[in-house]
Symmetry: C2
Subunit: 293 residues, 2 copies
C-alpha cells in the first residue's frame, strides 16, 4: 500500500514527533489511567444499525430534561424500527418516525428548551486560551465542547462535528427527542443556543457520514427505500455487560488533556513548517479509546 509518509498529509491524531514537545500520541501513550473515565452506561446510548453500532454519550449537565426524555423514549421502544430520514451534505444526519404515526407512552411530546443552562463551580470547565467568535468563553466540560458567558452565567454545548441534538420546529419548545440529528460537516456554530444539544457520538460516525445524501429538500430522502432502518436504540445500562461497547474518554480537566491542547495549538515535528498558535473549539481532539481497566 501507499507508504503513510509518501506524499501524504498527517492525520489529525497522528502527527509525527514534535521537535520541542510531546505530540498528542506521545501524551496519550504517557497518560495514566486516572486521565481517562469510562462512559457511564446510564448516559450512553446505542443506535443499532444493520451495519453496526453508533455510540452516543449524553450530556445531562447541559440538557437534563431532554436526556431523561430520550432515555424514556428508548426504554419504551420508540425508536426501534424507525429510520434515518435525512442526510444533508456537510451538515447533518437525522432520524425520526418517517410516518409521524408512532404514539408516545410516558415520554413527553414537548419540553422546554435547554439551549443554555446556568453554570456553577460544580461544572468543570477547561477553558481554551484563545478567543472564539461565537461565545465569550469556550472550553470543555466533562468531555464536551461548550461555550459560556460570565455576564449571564449561562453555558451551552457547541455544535461541533459529531454533536447530537434534538430537532425542533419553529417553536423553541417543539422538540422532545423523538427526532435527533448528528452534525456530519463543518461545525454549524450558528445553531448554538438555538437548539438543544444532548450529547456527542463517541464511536461509529462513519456509519452515518457514509450514508447516501438525501435528494429532497434539506437532504431528506424522497423514497422510503432510501432510508436506513434503525434496528434499535438502547441505553447501554440495559444491554448485557458482555455486549456493551467499553469505551473511555480523556478527562478534559486532566493535565494530559491540557497538554494535548497545547500540542495541537502548535503542531511541530518534521512535517509542520508554521505552527498555528491557535486552535478552534471544534478542532480540539477528544480522544476516545477501548477501556483498558
Amino acid at each position: 500500500m501507499l507508504a503513510a509518509l509518501s506524499l501524504t498529509i498527517p492525520a489529525l491524531a497522528k502527527d509525527v514527533a514534535m521537535k520541542t514537545a510531546k505530540t498528542m500520541p506521545e501524551l496519550i501513550k504517557a497518560s495514566s489511567p486516572a486521565d481517562w473515565r469510562p462512559l457511564n452506561p446510564e448516559n450512553t446510548l446505542y443506535l443499532e444499525l444493520d451495519k453496526g453500532r453508533v455510540v452516543i454519550e449524553l450530556a445531562p449537565d447541559f440538557a437534563p430534561q431532554h436526556a431523561a426524555n430520550i432515555k424514556t423514549l428508548i426504554r419504551e421502544g420508540y425508536f426501534d424500527g424507525l429510520a434515518i430520514v435525512r442526510s444533508q451534505e456537510n451538515y447533518v444526519v437525522q432520524w425520526a418516525d418517517p410516518d409521524e404515526k408512532r404514539e408516545l407512552k410516558t415520554a413527553k411530546k414537548n419540553l422546554e428548551p435547554e439551549f443554555t443552562v446556568p453554570y456553577s463551580a460544580q461544572l468543570p470547565f477547561t477553558r481554551l486560551p484563545d478567543a472564539d467568535g461565537y461565545a465569550p468563553q469556550v472550553g470543555h466540560a466533562n468531555g464536551f465542547a461548550a461555550g459560556r458567558d460570565p455576564k449571564t452565567g449561562r453555558a451551552w454545548l457547541a455544535h461541533c462535528y459529531a454533536s447530537v441534538g434534538v430537532a425542533r420546529g419553529n417553536e423553541a419548545n417543539s422538540g422532545s427527542g423523538t427526532s435527533l440529528y448528528v452534525v456530519t460537516g463543518h461545525a454549524p456554530r450558528q445553531l448554538d443556543r438555538n437548539i438543544t444539544l444532548v450529547g456527542r457520538v463517541m464511536q461509529g460516525m462513519e456509519l452515518l457520514t457514509t450514508l447516501p445524501r438525501g435528494t429532497g429538500a434539506l437532504g431528506f430522502y424522497e423514497k422510503p427505500e432510501q432510508r436506513t432502518p434503525i434496528v434499535a436504540m438502547k441505553v447501554a445500562a440495559d444491554v448485557p455487560e458482555a455486549e456493551r461497547s467499553k469505551l473511555e474518554i480523556i478527562r478534559t480537566e486532566s493535565a494530559t488533556f491540557k497538554a494535548i491542547v497545547a500540542a495541537q495549538r502548535n503542531r511541530g515535528g518534521e512535517w509542520y513548517k508554521v505552527p498555528a498558535a491557535y486552535i478552534d473549539l471544534c478542532n480540539v481532539p477528544l480522544p476516545v479509546r477501548q477501556q483498558k481497566n
Copy 2:
C-alpha cells in the same frame, strides 16, 4: 415523506424568511447575472469516477506553478486509471498512484511550495468583518476562502470543507500534484501555510464524502479492491462543450455576496432565536449553480 418543517432544523442554505432582512435564498433569487461568473474551462478540472463527476476549480492566483503542473499531469494522462487511496473520517480523501510506479513525462516531480503568495491590489479580497484565530485577515478572493497578513504582504488559501490540496512529504518542496486531497471534515485550518492548496470542489463532494473510510493508518485503504478507480482526470477546456458541467459561482466581490455574508452572520426568521452576530470563514456559503446565461 417527513414534512420539511416538522421536527427538523434548517438547511444552511434554506433558512426560513428573515424578519428584518433578506435571506440568502432571497438574495440569490434577486441577484443579477453580473453577480455570477462562469467557471473558466482552463481552470476547471473534472475527476471522473464510475459514480459521477467531481468538478474542481483551480486557483492559479494562489498556486500558479502547482495549478499549471496539475494541468500538465492531467493532459499527459497521469491520473487516468489511478485510484482514491485514502478516506479518513472527518479529515480528507486523497488520490494518487497506489503503486508509485507511474512515470512522469514533462510534468515536474517537485515544485517549490506555494504555501503563501504576495498579494496586490489586483487580487480582489472581500474581507470578513470578524476576527479569525488562524490569520490576521480573512475573506474571499475570486470565490476562494483566504487569509492574508498585511505585515508580510502574503496571502494564502484557507483549508475549508471541499478545499483541494497537493499532498507532500516532510520536505516543503516534495509535492507537485501527483497526489491530491480534498478536505471532507471540519476545517483543518492548522494546515494553512503548511501545504499548497490549489482549488476547491465546486460540485460532487458527496461522491467523495460517502466513500468507505480506509482502515489503515491515516485512513489509507489496506486492500487494492477497497480503492475507488479514477476513470480519468480532465481539464474542462479539453472536454467537448456539450459534455462540460456548466456551472457559475457567485462573485465574492459583488454586493450580493456581501449581503449574503451579512444575512448568514445574523440568521433571522421564525426558526432562529439568537443570531450569532459572527460567521467563521469556512461557514461562509459560496453559492454555485447551473449556468443560466
